[in-house]
Every structure is written in structure tokens, then in C-alpha cells.
């Protein structure tokens, strides 16, 4: 077994194991942390496929930002697991049907001809995945790329607008106003003669 094959199997075991753990562990925080581990293992796989830009970006965006916010929410929520599990037996038949359906679909896709590809050939030493992606994104796919960017911008603005609310009962100090205070506004120097005894 070559070193690369060893790495591949190592990260594959980590990936599959953590993916299973995401849906089986009871503690939601542990589940979120296993999802992080799954992302890191996937990033390792992508880097081994010489897609280092995508791999690092996966770590940067999903591990470094998205999952952190996820963890925030999961940690702050007081999730009552017993209430979530209440309807387990009632929903089990439906769950089994959905699971079997998905299994069949997956088997059809993975078993299909499209996925029977040759192992990728290693690229030459001067190949840069970042450059190749940039070339594609900014030439051939420039319009889809920009449209995606605008849609994301709209989503950002929508999220901000939805959460922007002023509660009249909070005593809020505007930091922008605070830092504009100057000494002259607040302090008055008074010169006084000392009193005679």
C-alpha cells in the first residue's frame, strides 16, 4: 500500500465514521463537532485530488465560519431530547420508507455508468488548481458567478433587515455617538480662589 493509498483510506474511515456519528450520537453539540470532523476529512480528500483551493475553502468557510455559528446556536439552545424522541415509534414506518427510497436512489446513481470513472491522472507540477478555477470562473462562467454573488448579497441584506429591530425598552447607547464626545462637552474647568480662613 502506498502512502497515498494509506492517507486515502485513513481519511475515508474518518469521514464515514464521523458521518455516521453525526446522526447517531445523542448530544447535539457532539453531532455538530462530528460534522466538523467530516468536513475536515472531506477537505483532505479534495486536497489529495489536487483541488487544494476547494479543500482549503471548505475548511475556511464551513469549518471556520458556518459550523462555528451552528455550534453557537446548538450550545445556546436548551434542547430537550426526550421531547424530540417522543414521536419516534410513531414516525418509524415513514422513516423506514424514506430511508429505503433514498438507498435505492443512491444505489441507482452510484452504480450507474457515469460514476465508473478512471482514477484521475496526477497533474503536472506547475498545475495550480486556484489559477485553473479562477480562469474558469472569470471567463466562461462569469455571468453565473456574478448572478450567484448578487443572490448572496440579497440574502445577506434580507437577513440583516429581518433581524434589525429596535426595542424601545432597552437602554441602548450608540457607540458612534459616544466616541464623538469631546472633552469640552463634558468637563467644565472652574477656577476658584481658595477660601480665607
Amino acid at each position: 500500500m502506498t502512502f497515498e493509498a494509506f492517507l486515502f483510506y485513513f481519511f475515508s474511515v474518518v469521514l464515514v465514521g464521523s458521518a455516521v456519528a453525526v446522526i447517531t450520537v445523542r448530544n447535539p453539540v457532539h453531532a455538530a463537532l462530528f460534522l466538523v470532523l467530516a468536513f475536515v476529512a472531506t477537505a483532505a480528500h479534495w486536497i489529495m485530488l489536487e483541488a487544494e483551493f476547494l479543500g482549503i475553502l471548505l475548511v475556511l468557510v464551513y469549518v471556520g465560519a458556518v459550523m462555528v455559528l451552528f455550534l453557537f446556536v446548538v450550545m445556546m439552545l436548551d434542547i430537550n431530547m426526550s421531547r424530540i424522541r417522543e414521536g419516534f415509534m410513531k414516525l418509524l414506518p415513514v422513516g423506514i420508507v424514506v430511508a429505503v427510497g433514498m438507498m435505492v436512489v443512491m444505489a441507482m446513481v452510484v452504480g450507474a455508468q457515469v460514476f465508473q470513472v478512471e482514477p484521475p491522472v496526477p497533474a503536472s507540477a506547475d498545475y495550480s488548481n486556484t489559477e485553473a478555477l479562477g480562469q474558469l470562473l472569470y471567463t466562461e462562467y462569469v455571468y453565473p458567478f456574478e448572478i450567484a454573488a448578487v443572490i448572496l448579497l440579497v440574502a445577506i441584506i434580507a437577513a440583516i433587515v429581518l433581524t434589525l429591530r429596535k426595542r424601545p425598552d432597552t437602554r441602548y447607547l450608540d457607540p458612534a455617538k459616544q466616541i464623538q464626545i469631546r472633552r469640552e462637552d463634558r468637563v467644565r474647568m472652574v477656577k476658584m480662589e481658595s477660601e480665607k480662613k
Binding site: F53, I56, V59, G64, A65, V68, L71, M75, T130, Q178
Partner: protein, 354 residues
Amino acid sequence: MQQAMIQFWEGLPLIVQINLKIMAILTPLMLAVAYTTFAERKIIGYMQVRVGPNRVGPRGWLQPIADALKLLTKEVVIPTNANRYLFLIAPVLAIAPALAAWAVVPFDDGMVLADINAGLLFLLALTSMGVYGIIIAGWASNSRYALLGSMRSAAQIISYEIAMGFALVGVIMAAGSLNVGEIVMAQQGSVYHWFLLPLFPLFLVYFISGVAETNRAPFDVAEGESEIVAGFHVEYSGMAFAVFFLAEYANMILISALTALLFLGGWLSPFEGILPESAFAIPVLGWLLDSGIHWFLIKTAFFLFLFLWFRATFPRYRYDHIMRLGWKVLIPVTIVWLFVAGVAVAIGVGPWFA
């Protein structure tokens, strides 16, 4: 002799070679971390007209070693109902990215452990992973103070990461490369070729964000002695606490080194292109004036000193002021300056964007 040594080096198995290189980076780094704590206490001491530690060893020079021994022999207390594994893994998660990032930091021309294409992205990804140590530490401690402290510092780190990333985009635009070594070489020429001049606002944003990322004063609300007990590591003791401490200082050194590399030309000499060529031919002085690892170390040390200086002079920011600075001041500044840099690239303003 030299030939024999090269032959001996090449005869070693690859894995041994790599491990020796890693040791050659980490050993001085750990020593630097230890002595940064000493320098901090000394410098802040002098700034506050005190002497600082001067008891252990000559002039207090053995103080960090005594501290390390003390922490090593202390018990690591694990709180009741704390999540044992996560509690112990959190300090490791905090320090690992801070150390792994040094793999792509070039110390001199070609003197780098892994000369990878997407070096700068790798650095960004690793610095963004450091936040897990803090979050997990806060949650696994099973303590409200620790959880609140970790929420505060994690929110702060994520916010400032955005400004930091945007500032780096400007550097990438100017250098036309993601490889850290190539970014330094793009600043070759003279002092005026350094990115400090055309990207000055981004330099300020980067360094301020760096101070905030490492949770250092004046942005150290994670510690906030006067507000919360000590932040996310309140339940940690002994070596587990020491590892968090080491991670903070390793991150400080990393941010200083990166600022030196990305904006001040790393190992490039400031006299390059100013002094005549003959000046570099003088036996010892010429070597000192010429580009080399010593310039990189001097620049890094300067920024490290700034970290300590800030701590001694600035009052702590209030939390909402920190958030305002990050989101409403630094990010707009970077966006404006990215636009300026874009225009400069388009019309080819020399010598930086040509």
C-alpha cells in the same frame, strides 16, 4: 566536511528529514513564546515604572523556565460533569493551528517547510480553526462563566476574521499570487516597493484585526478581569491552562510574522536599492545590511513589541465598541481600499501594481 554533511542529510529517510525541519522551526518558536511572556512582563513593568521579574536566574532570565516547571507539576483539575475528552482536547485544538500555520511561513528565500501554491489561503483557514479550541473549552467546562467568555471571544474572532480576509485580498491583488514566498518577492526593489505604502489602510486593518483575533488588549474582553472571571479558560489549571497561554503567544508571533511578510517585505532589507551594490560587499556589515533572515526576525520582533505596547497603554474596549469597530469601521475601510487597489491594478500604478 560540508560535502559529507550534505550527503548525510540526503541519506536520511524523507520522514526523518521532514521531522527534523519541523523541529528546527518549532524549537526556536517555543523558546520565543516562552521569552515573549518574559519580555511582556519586563516591558510592561518598565512602562509602569516597575522592574518586573528579576529574581529567578541572572536578571530574571530563567523566569519563563521556572513558570513552565511550576505549571507542569500542577494538577489538571477536571470539573465535575465536564465533558472529559472535549475538555482535554480543547487546548490541543487551540495550539495546533497556531503551530501548523508555520509550515508555509518563509524565513528567507526558499527557506520554507512547505512551499505550496495556496499558502495564504492555508494560513487563513488555519487561523479560522483556532476558534474551536475556545468554543469547545467554554462548552466542555460545564461552567457559565466559561461559556459566556467563549461566546464573547468566538464572536469577536469570527467578526475580525472577515476584515482580516479582506485585507489579505488586497495583498493578493498587489502580489498576483497566493504563495507567501512570491508575495515577498513581489515587494523586491527598495523600501518603496513594500506593500506598506500602497496598502497602508489594509495594513492598519490587518494588524488591528490581528490584535483582536489573538484576544489581546485592548480587545481582550475574553479575559476581562473586571467583568468576567477569566473567560473561556477559567476552569483550566496546570499544563492545560499553559497550553492555552502558549497558543495565545504563538498566535501573536504568527500575526507579527505575517504582517512583516505581507506588508514589510519579510526578509528583504530596507537598504536594498538605496545603498550602492558595493555596500553589500563589506565583510560583516554587508551581510547585515543585505536581505536575510535577520530582517525578518527584526520586523517580527517590532510587531511583537507593538502587541506589548498596546497592552500597556490602551484601555480595554467595551464589547459593543469592539463589534462596531470590526463591522462598521474596518470592513468598509477594506472594501473602499480594495476598490482603490482594483483601479490601481487596472491602470497599472507602478511600481506595485505594474
